[in-house]
Subunit: 228 residues, 2 copies
């Protein structure tokens, strides 16, 4: 139940709302997503809820177990490595391309993402900061004008959020690292080489900052997570 103005809940908007909740860690890996329960929350039928859950399962954010229901996905260690492997193939080259096509408006929009992330972080809203940090990456793929790659990156970013929920060790600083600022500098200068290198090492940093041994998690209440 985001959005103050009463949203009309269709399968698509329900999926978006759930995805946001997962991305912001209001829904944690392993949480059961009962169809009746969600249907009641959004005041809609199981039909629409099922469509939304199916969409999320295709993005690997939700795992559907036959006859047992839907659960927020719990990426394995192997999957975690694979996600960052895929990102390291896609994002650096895309960042290079973005750097050479970047307009002033694009730069401004990226900067506003960083600012909003900074604000959220200081307001103690780690979930939202993490979401905005992901949007920074998505925006770059969009600026590169690669719709197809952008869709893949968006999926990988969302899955990364699950991975962070499970394996992150330093609780405090999310992507507040200077990486995004340094990328901004490269973008402002239209320096494709630098952008590619910075993105590459940024992703490597992210991966190495994970503790791929210990899992942490604790599923809470659904209604609680989706309430605003």
């Amino acid at each position: 139940m985001n959005e103050l103005n009463t949203t009309v809940w269709t399968p698509d908007t329900i999926a978006q709302d759930l995805e946001r909740a997962i991305h912001e860690h209001r829904l944690t890996p392993g949480s059961k997503l009962g169809e009746d329960e969600i249907g009641e929350i959004y005041a809609t039928s199981r039909t629409s809820v099922r469509a939304a859950l199916q969409a999320l399962s295709h993005k690997r954010l939700v795992e559907l177990k036959r006859n047992r229901g839907a659960f927020v996905a719990q990426p394995s260690v192997k999957e975690a490595r694979e996600v960052f492997e895929a990102r390291s193939l896609l994002e650096p080259r895309t960042a290079r391309s973005a750097a050479t096509r970047m307009s002033d408006e694009d730069l401004a929009r990226l900067q506003s993402h960083i600012d909003a992330e900074h604000t959220a972080l200081h307001a103690g809203d780690n979930g939202r900061a993490l979401y905005l940090s992901g949007e920074f990456h998505n925006e770059i793929a969009r600026i590169a004008d690669q719709v197809t790659i952008a869709a893949f990156v968006a999926e990988l970013v969302s899955r990364s959020s699950l991975i962070i929920a499970l394996y992150w060790q330093r609780r405090a600083a999310i992507c507040e690292s200077t990486a995004h600022h340094m990328l901004m500098k490269a973008f402002a200068e239209g320096d494709g080489d630098a952008a590619e290198d910075l993105m590459k090492s940024h992703l490597l940093d992210l991966l190495t900052s994970l503790d791929l041994k210990n899992k942490t998690s604790a599923p809470g209440s659904l209604a609680e997570a989706l309430k605003r």
Copy 2:
């Protein structure tokens, strides 16, 4: 209605069957996929059919137009370029990785794909040959043991099949080019450098062999396409 042994049609198997039909060009871009019509063909309810169509739309093989129905996707020229751009980021590096991990069984399985493709081609079954040619690419990603990347590649390969249906100019030789054979040699020798280079140029060849100006297509009958 593939599979001689009577398959039990669930949303998943229906989606697989439709995907195969699209991949083999029995269903051409733009074909209308009416829910009632498909439901009748598979002797199931619209509920299951809708789930299958949704799955395919998430893979961009089917386009869902609200209140108007499902159609086999018709990738634009821009989308065609994007698909091969994405493939060129993912597959060469994956081929390199596969080359270094390749076992004898893997090699044999790849060879059997090539053989089957050759057979299909000489039997005049271009659709099946194209499908098997795609499976060659998918198999490489699987051998690299990259499930996540393999899923992306599989999607891109399927979409490539649509692109080929729309923009291919030389009707005869599909992927019968020597590219796959040369890749096999690199794999057999465990030569990662060669595998990466060969894959890169193979994908470039594919892209440049497209005629990204003229579209060709002609939707036929549904029941015809799915009959076997």
